[in-house]
């Protein structure tokens, strides 16, 4: 019992634990859709893409987070358009759009020497530095995502499985995707603030992939992925405390170990 309680005496750890739990669940939930649409790289990609948006919005005098969020949303929509309209696969499109977007940020920064802040430090946070304000933000985004995913369960399922037939059957697929891109951008922005960039890709992909190994049912996969995301986040935080390693890396390790464990059992 003391094992669990000891780190809780530190407020930074408690906040970090709650933040990791929420983000783990959030990314686990959205990860199901990402993995099934075969866009697994998008988490990592978008977290770099928003860097371009942050730089541009700083130059225009717009709030950095608002600008980065809108830019991330735009990138997600562009990715979808290019994937469906042309003979390109999602992985190539994500690579092109997100790295180009990041490069825009880097190019502008090197050209316009007006930046007095390390932008990466602004955008990419640390789970150990989560403030109450951050917790509120992440809770709101998680709640919103849960609501949207529940309300649009059928539409999202059908669009993810077979977008053309869904359209014929009357699902407003374009609107559904726009909404999805919106919550994805928000989720990634909020998660980046809390976790930093190394974690994003892992928290989106690994719990969903693990859940897929455990079930054939879509709804069960959603629940499992969310739970696994939360559990590995909690486990990772405790692991990082007791083994004295960086929290981000330990959460990823936990998730990866679980995946390997499930894979070997399922065989």
């Amino acid at each position: 019992m003391a094992f669990f309680v000891e780190p809780l005496q530190y407020q930074f750890f408690v906040h970090g634990l709650i933040a990791a739990l929420l983000v783990g669940c959030l990314c686990g939930l959205l990860g199901v859709y990402i993995v099934l649409r075969q866009m697994s790289y998008i988490g990592h990609g978008l977290s770099h893409a928003v860097f371009g948006g942050a730089v541009v919005s700083h130059l225009l005098g717009v709030n950095v987070y608002v600008g980065a969020g809108l830019w991330g949303f735009g990138a997600a929509v562009l990715i979808h358009r290019l994937t469906t309209r042309r003979d390109l696969h999602a992985d190539a499109v994500i690579g092109i759009v997100t790295t180009a977007s990041f490069a825009v940020g880097v190019a502008l920064m090197s050209r316009v020497h007006r930046f007095t802040q390390d932008f990466e430090a602004v955008l990419f946070g640390n789970v150990l530095g989560v403030s109450q304000h951050d917790l509120l933000l992440i809770a709101v985004v998680t709640g919103l995502t849960g609501l949207v995913v529940t309300a649009l369960y059928k539409q999202l399922l059908f669009s993810t499985f077979d977008e053309s037939v869904a359209q014929v059957a009357g699902v407003p697929t374009r609107l559904v995707y726009l909404l999805f891109a919106c919550i994805l951008a928000l989720a990634i922005l909020a998660s980046m603030q809390v976790l930093g960039v190394t974690l994003i890709a892992a928290t989106i992909v690994i719990p969903a992939a693990t859940a897929r190994l455990l079930t054939h049912s879509f709804s069960t996969m959603l629940v499992l992925s969310t739970v696994l995301g939360g559990v590995t986040a909690l486990g990772g935080m405790y692991l990082s405390y007791y083994v004295d390693i960086a929290s981000g890396a330990s959460i990823v390790l936990c998730a990866a170990l679980l995946f390997v464990g499930v894979l070997s059992i399922r065989r």
Binding site: H113, F115, A121, G129, Y241, D244, A246, S247
Partner: protein
Amino acid sequence: MRKKLVARWCVFLLTMLVLTLAGLPQVALASLHVATTVAPLTDMVQQVGGELLHVHGLIPEGVNSHTFQPAPGDVQYLAQADLVVLNGLHLEIPIEKLIQSSGKPGVTVVKLGEHTVSQTEWVFDTSFPKAQGLPNPHLWLNVDYAMHYVTLIRDHVSALDRDNAAVYHQNAARYLTQLAHLDGCITAAMHTLEPHQRKLLTYHDSWPYFARRYGLTIIGAVQPANFSEPSPREVARLIDQLRREKVPAVFGSEVFPSKVLHKIASEAGVRYVTTLRDDVLPGAQGEADHSYMGMMRHNVTTMLVALGGAPATFTACLQEPATR
């Protein structure tokens, strides 16, 4: 006819010669081109050279000097530079590489830090671990070392521009007096702090040489090596230490907004101050404070206020005239 032509040519050539000779003093005053890196170094060179030097600082203020990548446009400054003034100690590796590939042939490159301290005086710590072999490069925050930087700068520009050596020596002498005075005031001011107040916890690890000179202890720097994340135990340790040792304040950085340090401060119940600078000069270009000395005055005042010392004593000391 031919004689008249020859005579006219002679007059023409003589006139040209006279005019050229008349113009020569201006050519003799033509500036030496000096390229520097961080703003404090740029200011020091300007204090020594004044109007006589064309100085260009390659690293804009506020940009992370450790990871600054020069743009191709910076090449033109390096190609013109007769003298390149670097801090050295691996602070400006990308610029050093650029000099090798694009510098003027025969350009003089001086690495101030490497001529100021010997290897035995190098500081290694958590941000600059001994295992990696790269020492902490932030020598200029120690005013005594800064004075040595100024003498090195003076000697190099004088060697390259002998005609103005006297002026450089004069400027340097005046500046060194001011710096010596500042050094004395800082030492006195730090003595107004109680022993338990003389502790520095910063985000970016710029202060070990300053601490060594002025009797402060560095408790730690939150930004670990390679700019990675601190582990929860390290954070817990810092919080416990701050509480135990009753440290009054911790110092963040405007260039690296650190949520972790902010969190440590709020949980330990200490003040969180973000206005210490190691390579950003306060105020705008042209203002009196926009200089290395202005930056050090600002930093020391900030520290004194945050740690519970007497900033008034420091201000009063600065207003006294500097004597040799």
